[in-house]
């Protein structure tokens, strides 16, 4: 028996000794933070993850759903109706998406930028290292610029509150307050300056190049009201990237040409955006075309949003933009405004994102095109009271889009010119996510606001117009932030 006890004791001991295999387990397939970025190649792979965080579908959705680009479609299942009714508050998805997404991008970029500081590249790797960093700085600047655009009530007032400036990897306990617009501009400008210094590529439609950096700088300058800078930068880019021919213009939206593309985000089969996403939500995150339809960009593709008549009525059938934007399967009722049932007799299907690579609704997202640069240049000229010069540029764009010379517009005032430029932007850049930002920037000066076609909006709850000075052209600080950071709730934007 004593022997048995001994055996038992040894057995127990063995079990005790052998227990570590049960409680000291390393799961296979893990990449520790400390080992993630060891060399320049790792850094380049990290940059590809940063690009994957960039998405312009939220602003496409915001501009379309909230302003006067779309009408509720005949096949609506109720998608986006609240935003269409101008319902925007701290609980809205729009507010949380723009806030959370851009701070996430800011954070991921900063992590990579800090990790890069621990890598010493060989001479042969220096260019790759610099260019990787340039892209990280650019993506961070782009995200912070979007925060400024959507959360600062006035991007031209340096003392207005904007978003917190977080130029470090924030500790989890942080509860920052809002910085001023001027301070946020400083942060963005510093990043853009660094990106500009480090970038080693002049031009590349799918990746960030010096040209893309300059395009962002042009947009930033126009936003801040620094029109001389905007005019120079935009003018240089228009020179390098001539407007597309009508044929190439069509091909561009089929992703078959990069004719006037300065930078676009590639969207391809099986990438993380290859899916329908949350239809009718600003935070959809899927195919760009799924912002408007469930299945494809035809009448049978279940369009839950259709083209607002206020866009359609501006499109001349001989304008290539009519061909690009209006699906041929659309049902057009010229007497829509007197028809008793316009929803079912006048069906205008949006075709800007017809799909590519065999996947309906999936298209590359055009971030910067030379047409936008040209319109920035025109706006800058108008703002500096060069009304004739502005008109010349608008004519240049129309000539290209019609494929034939068009009449030279004439502007009696800056407001006139702004109004015409806004109208040209409305059809040139429709469904590309500009309208909300444009109305906020020069809508008040042009005396233009949201003006939906009466027939379209009255078949809904009657939300037809909204002044560009309305408080809802700035998003509220979202509840999700206030929950974690109550003090910032005391700095809520006016009107909310």
């Amino acid at each position: 028996m004593k022997k048995f006890n001994k055996i038992l004791f040894v057995g127990l001991l063995a079990v005790l000794m052998g227990c570590n295999d049960a409680i000291d387990i390393r799961q296979p397939g893990r990449l520790d933070a400390a080992n993630a970025f060891g060399n320049v190649e790792d850094l380049e792979l990290g940059v590809l993850a940063l690009y994957n965080q960039m998405d312009v579908t939220p602003k496409i959705s915001m501009a379309a759903n909230f302003t006067d680009e779309i009408a509720i479609g005949f096949d609506s299942g109720g998608q986006g109706i609240a935003l269409y009714d101008f319902v925007l508050n701290a609980g809205s998805t729009a507010a949380s998406d723009f806030w959370v997404r851009n701070f996430r991008v800011n954070n991921r970029c900063t992590i990579l930028i800090e990790a890069a500081a621990n890598i010493t590249p060989d001479a042969s790797e220096q260019d790759a290292y610099d260019n990787a960093l340039a892209q990280a700085y650019f993506i961070r600047a782009y995200a912070n610029f979007e925060l400024l655009l959507y959360f600062s009530p006035d991007p031209r007032d340096d003392s207005a509150l904007a978003a917190p400036v977080i130029d470090f990897v924030a500790p989890l306990s942080i509860q920052p307050l809002r910085n001023t617009t001027g301070e946020l501009w400083d942060y963005i400008n510093a990043d853009i300056a660094t990106a500009s210094t480090l970038s080693t590529v002049q031009s590349d439609p799918l990746f960030i190049s010096r040209d893309a950096i300059n395009a962002l700088r042009a947009r930033m300058a126009a936003t801040r009201g620094d029109y001389p800078t905007a005019e120079t930068l935009a003018g240089n880019l228009v020179a390098s990237y001539p407007l597309a021919s009508t044929v190439n213009y069509q091909l561009m939206f089929l992703d078959a040409s990069n004719a006037e593309v300065i930078f676009k985000l590639e969207r391809t089969q099986n990438d993380s955006y290859d899916g329908q996403g949350a239809t009718g939500s600003v935070s959809a995150g899927g195919w760009a075309g799924a912002i408007f339809a469930f299945v494809d960009a035809t009448l049978d593709g279940s369009p839950y949003f259709e083209m607002d008549r206020s866009v359609f009525n501006l499109l001349d059938p001989s304008d290539i933009r009519y061909t690009v934007n209006v699906a041929p399967t659309s049902v057009i009722n010229p007497n829509y405004d007197t028809d008793p049932d316009p929803v079912n007799t006048d069906k205008l299907v949006i075709q800007k994102y017809p799909g590519s690579e065999g996947q309906p609704l999936m298209n590359d997202l055009k971030v910067f095109r030379s047409a936008e640069m040209l319109l920035i240049q025109a706006e800058a000229r108008a703002a500096q009271n060069n009304l004739g010069g502005a008109a010349q540029l608008v004519k240049q764009l129309r000539d290209a889009r019609f494929g034939s010379p068009q009449a030279l517009p004439s502007y009696g005032s800056i407001a006139d010119a702004f109004a015409d430029i806004l109208q040209e932007r409305k059809i040139e850049l429709c469904y590309e996510g500009h309208r909300y930002e444009d109305l906020k920037r020069i809508g008040p000066a042009a005396n233009v606001g949201i003006e939906r076609d009466n027939t379209d909006c009255t078949t809904q709850s009657g939300a037809c117009t909204l002044s560009a000075t309305d408080f809802r052209f700035t998003l509220p600080i979202p509840i999700v932030e206030i929950n974690a950071n109550p003090a910032i709730g005391g700095q809520q934007n006016p009107g909310y």
Partner: protein, 1015 residues
């Protein structure tokens, strides 16, 4: 030297004692029941204070060696023990009395003990109340039977998982379900669909810390110990068959869905849909002119609920064989069941085999038992249930399809592509029924081996080795000719469709080794000490593929011939594989002391380590103490009406290491920061941040205080238990909101406290207790539990988290706008501001308030009434639940959603909608300016309390005199019903569903008939 001497002495003593007891003789006799004088097979005969024992054979006869002066103890479950002292006679016949103190034996920790000497809170459910119930999972059957045990089944899928919670909700994100142990093997608490309920002999539910602390790392939410049937030693072959057939039907709803005529009329009024002549659906497409009254009257009226739901038929057969020789016994059972769900395309087929063997050495020092069950099941389980996918969720089709479209409108999937109309929803789903396959096959093996060796009379070494293996195999495929495949493939991809196959395998091994000391000193002092180690290791493996693109020529679900190679970015197949490992290790001890069955004390102490906290706080200590006072055994109680009165109290802690609630493998290394190599920009490989670690992660600790009284009066005619408890969870693992500037909006951390306080009641009363066994017996019982939750120390300065609750408030308290009705002036919706003023335009943020309501029950339990008369029996069980508030989203989100006119069916309540100023009604105007402005309010929050006839059984047991010469020893027929009637203000299909979702699969009403035969 001294040690050696002691051992020598011990050996000497043992020799002397054996010598002195050498005058053994063989005692024989018959054990009968006092009620009817019939022999009692399987009764235990033990020589008191020794390990010597025997069992009575088929004729109630036994034989055992004993010496004069020794005491024989005769026992049988449900009977009172009898003790007889061996005298000169070699024959001792005994007759046992029925004992109405059921639950003679309780399981505590890793051993069993008598109820009298137990100081913990536990309840036993016996086979009688489990067998023959037509539920594919035995867990559903436990509903309402045990005070404090809340079982909610939110799906009608046969064998679907139930939510099991004991005494409230102890965790926010972590596991809240008890540990299940089958014959010593800890098993997956979410998957019982493959196990045969008919094999179960007993289920013990351990509730307080005194009972569960010894299960330390997994016992924080209670422990459910399941024992399966065993054979008996010295028993002839017994064959038992039972079988039943059951009919499952849909429970009713009260939504007043419109008929085709009503709906078309409403559509005409609203100017939208087929009634208004502007639908693109199959019925009256796009004609442009509204239907006339005559056309509406002539329209077809089809009930899609009756189409997607059916009467499901279940059959269940179990055959068991048990036998035993002197030193071995065995129990073998075969089971087959086929359960059809009430939803088309849902079912479960299962085959079970069980083999339980027990044995002992002839000197009875060594004992062993092995339990093995091998099971295979195959179930069709439709997915997308609960979703809003009009082309995938059959339930949605059953609830809100327009009745003027009929199955006759269906040709094939291609026909539905153009025009694409929401109104054709039922046809999309009908097409899916024809073209979509999804089934799961499962092999489940649970085995355990139990060895014990009695080193001396008072010292035993034990080992329990057990394993749970589960292999799930999923196949699903979408036919390339289906509507869905054609729709999403588009013209560019006419051979769309997909096939997915996936296998999940999980294996867990558990080993408990122990040394147990048990000795009685001076007849009155009993001490029991146990020292244990427990080792647990588990492995998870999964792999599978998702194949895009199928050729219709060679397509067959599950076969790969139709898979199309990748071309032009199409038909990319996705493989996946994952490995996870888990482990736990513990050592612990228990001590128990009893004085003369009057006073008792017990304590446990345990050290636990979990693999989850390897990077932070790996080890933790848990402990418990408990004590009891058997008042009825005191001298001063003699002659009182109380035949049993026991007061007990316990306090202790237990840990919850499954803090993410993901089972064995969830959240394996949350303490670390990780990056992942994953698809990035343009689907190129990239390195992306995948996890921000929490360096201070640790166990959730649950401390339970329990005070209970067990009583029996008037010969146990009235008997029961009262208990009060408090469970305090500290270091709750919960989402802590973070500023988005950190790159995330929340991180889960150990913070805050949660209390569950409540009481358990269990009372039974025999209204009529006949002296004659054929007399009328009527008994009634009440089972009840009241539980309330309270949050404390929430992780922010306001002390409130939306979605979770507020300090001092209840868990998951609703926080939303208050809806007060329809403005009679304009038909707009009216709300309250935070200050209680009526407004049409509340602030969607600041006017939300805490409502003091949640989805967790206050009271739950059951009433039962049982009658027996001359072999006839009637059992009824009424379950009740109060304090559950749910959003009726099937109603609010679908049937009265005025935006969906023309596309879906609606409730005829909409005929009350506001049309004229001054009209007082509860349905707003469809043109109300704020109809779509405030989606979140309490407008559709409803009380889902209910009383339900959960179970009723009526049957007849044939008396033995009728069975003579038939070869049968036992015959019974029965008629059972489940969910027969429900009384509730809830308008939906099933008030029991614990979810705020909509379009979910309700549990069925079931009626079954069956027989039980013994040979």
């Amino acid at each position: 030297m001294k040690l050696k001497l002691t051992w020598l002495l011990t050996l000497f003593m043992a020799f002397v004692m054996q010598f002195s007891f050498a005058q053994e003789k063989t005692i024989t006799g018959t054990v009968t029941t006092a009620d009817d004088g019939l022999p009692l097979p399987g009764a235990n005969v033990i020589v008191k204070g020794t390990a010597r024992g025997a069992q009575t054979d088929f004729d109630g006869k036994y034989s055992i060696k004993a010496s004069s002066g020794e005491v024989l103890v005769f026992s049988y479950v449900g009977m009172k023990n009898v003790e007889m002292t061996v005298s000169a006679s070699n024959t001792i016949d005994v007759s046992l009395q029925t004992d109405n103190t059921l639950d003679e034996v309780v399981v505590t920790g890793y051993r069993t003990q008598s109820k009298v000497t137990s100081s913990v809170s536990s309840v036993r459910v016996t086979a009688e109340t489990i067998e023959n119930r037509p539920n594919a999972s035995f867990v559903q059957t436990l509903s309402g039977q045990v005070p404090g045990l809340n079982i909610t089944t939110s799906t009608g899928q046969p064998g679907g998982n139930s939510l099991v919670q004991l005494r409230g909700v102890s965790s926010i994100n972590g596991n809240t379900e008890p540990l299940f142990i089958i014959d010593g093997a800890p098993v997956d608490e979410d998957n019982f669909r493959s196990l045969n309920p008919q094999d179960i002999a007993s289920i013990d539910i351990l509730k307080d810390a005194g009972a569960t602390a010894i299960y330390g790392n997994r016992g924080a939410n209670g422990v459910i110990v399941i024992k399966t049937r065993q054979g008996n030693f010295n028993q002839g072959l017994k064959i038992n068959y039972n079988g039943f057939i059951a009919y499952n039907t849909l429970q009713d709803n009260d939504y007043n869905a419109m008929s085709a005529q009503e709906l078309l009329t409403y559509e005409r009024t609203r100017g939208n849909g087929a009634g208004a002549g502007n639908s693109s659906g199959k019925f009256n497409p796009g004609a442009g002119t509204p239907l006339t009254d005559a056309q509406i009257a002539a329209a077809p009226n089809f009930n899609w609920t009756d189409f997607f739901f059916r009467t499901g038929v279940t059959q269940n057969h179990t055959l068991s064989l048990s036998s035993g020789s002197e030193n071995t016994s065995q129990f073998t059972s075969f089971g087959f069941s086929d359960t059809q769900g009430i939803l088309r395309d849902s079912d479960l087929k299962r085959f079970n085999l069980r083999s339980n063997i027990t044995g002992k050495s002839s000197n009875e020092k060594f004992r062993y038992a092995t339990n093995l069950t091998v099971n295979y099941s195959k179930s069709n389980e439709p997915n997308s249930i609960g979703s809003g996918a009009i082309n995938r969720n059959y339930i949605l089709g059953a609830y809100i399809s327009v009745p003027y479209i009929t199955p006759d409108d269906y040709i094939d999937g291609a026909d539905l592509l153009s025009p694409l109309s929401f109104t054709n929803t039922p046809l999309f789903l009908l097409d899916r029924l024809n073209t979509y396959t999804r089934f799961e096959e499962e092999v489940k093996i649970v085995g355990s081996a139990n060895f014990s060796y009695a080193l001396t009379d008072w010292l035993t070494a034990n080992a329990v080795l057990s394993a749970d293996y589960q292999s799930e195999f999923l196949t699903r495929a979408e036919d390339p000719r289906s509507f869905n495949a054609l729709l999403f493939g588009g013209a560019e991809n006419p051979t769309s469709g997909f096939q997915q196959q996936n296998t999940n395998r999980a294996f867990s091994y558990n080993q408990v080794t122990s040394l147990n000391f048990n000795k009685t000193f001076a007849d009155k002092h009993t001490i029991d000490v146990g020292l244990y180690t427990e080792y647990f290791k588990a492995h998870f493996r999964t792999f599978g593929y998702f194949g895009n693109g199928l050729d219709p020529r060679t397509f067959f679900p599950g076969d790969g011939s139709a898979l199309i190679p990748t071309a032009n970015g199409l038909f990319v197949d996705n493989p996946q594989a994952n490995i996870l490992n888990a482990g736990l290790f513990s050592y612990f001890g228990s001590l128990e002391y009893d004085y003369d069955e009057k006073y008792g004390f017990a304590a446990t102490l345990r050290r636990d380590a979990s693999y989850r906290f390897a990077g932070s706080n790996r080890w933790a200590t848990f402990w418990s103490v408990s004590a009891r006072w058997n008042i009825s055994n005191e001298a001063f109680m003699e002659g009182s009406a109380f035949n049993n009165l026991k007061l007990r109290a316990s306090y202790g802690t237990a840990g919850n290491q499954d803090i993410v609630g993901g089972g064995l493998f969830g959240g394996p290394d949350l303490t670390e920061d990780f990056f992942a190599t994953t698809a990035g920009y343009g689907n190129a490989n990239s390195i992306a941040l995948s996890q921000l670690g929490n360096r201070s992660l640790r166990w959730e600790t649950i401390a339970t205080t329990n005070i209970g009284v067990d009583f029996g009066v008037w010969n146990n005619r009235l008997r029961g238990t009262f208990e009060v408890y408090e469970r305090q969870t500290t270091d709750l693992f919960q989402s802590t909101p973070l500023s988005a500037t950190t790159g995330v909006t929340s991180q889960s951390a150990n913070t805050g406290e949660l209390f569950n306080r409540g009481l358990d009641i269990d009372i039974d009363y025999d209204i009529l207790r006949p002296t004659d066994p054929d007399g009328l017996r009527i008994s009634v019982g009440v089972v009840g539990n009241y539980n309330e939750t309270e949050l404390k120390d929430l992780p922010n300065t306001e002390g409130e988290i939306i979605g979770l609750g507020r300090n001092g408030g209840i868990l998951n308290e609703y926080f939303t706008l208050r809806y007060v009705g329809v403005n009679p002036a304009n038909g707009n919706l009216l709300y309250l501001t935070a200050n209680g003023n009526v407004t049409e335009n509340p602030d969607a943020d600041n006017d939300r308030v805490w409502l003091g309501k949640n989805i967790i029950p206050d009271w739950n339990g059951s009433f039962d009434v049982n009658l027996d008369y001359k072999g006839f029996f009637l059992t009824t069980q009424f379950n009740y639940v109060t304090g559950v508030d749910r959003f009726d989203n099937d109603y609010g989100g679908d049937l009265v959603d005025q935006n969906s006119v023309g596309q879906f069916n609606l409730s005829s309540d909409l005929f009350r909608e506001w049309t004229t100023p001054g009209q007082v009604t509860d349905i707003p105007s469809p043109n109300a300016a704020n109809l779509n402005s405030f989606g979140n309010s309490d407008r559709f929050l409803r009380d889902a309390s209910f009383l339900r006839l959960r179970f009723a059984s009526f049957g007849y047991s044939f008396p033995e005199k009728y069975l003579e010469n038939t070869g049968l020893t036992n015959a019974r027929v029965f008629l059972n019903g489940e969910n027969l009637f429900t009384w509730s203000e809830w308008r939906g299909f099933d008030p029991e569903t614990r979810s705020n979702g909509s379009r979910v699969y309700p549990t069925p009403r079931t009626i079954s008939v069956g027989v039980e035969l013994g040979f």
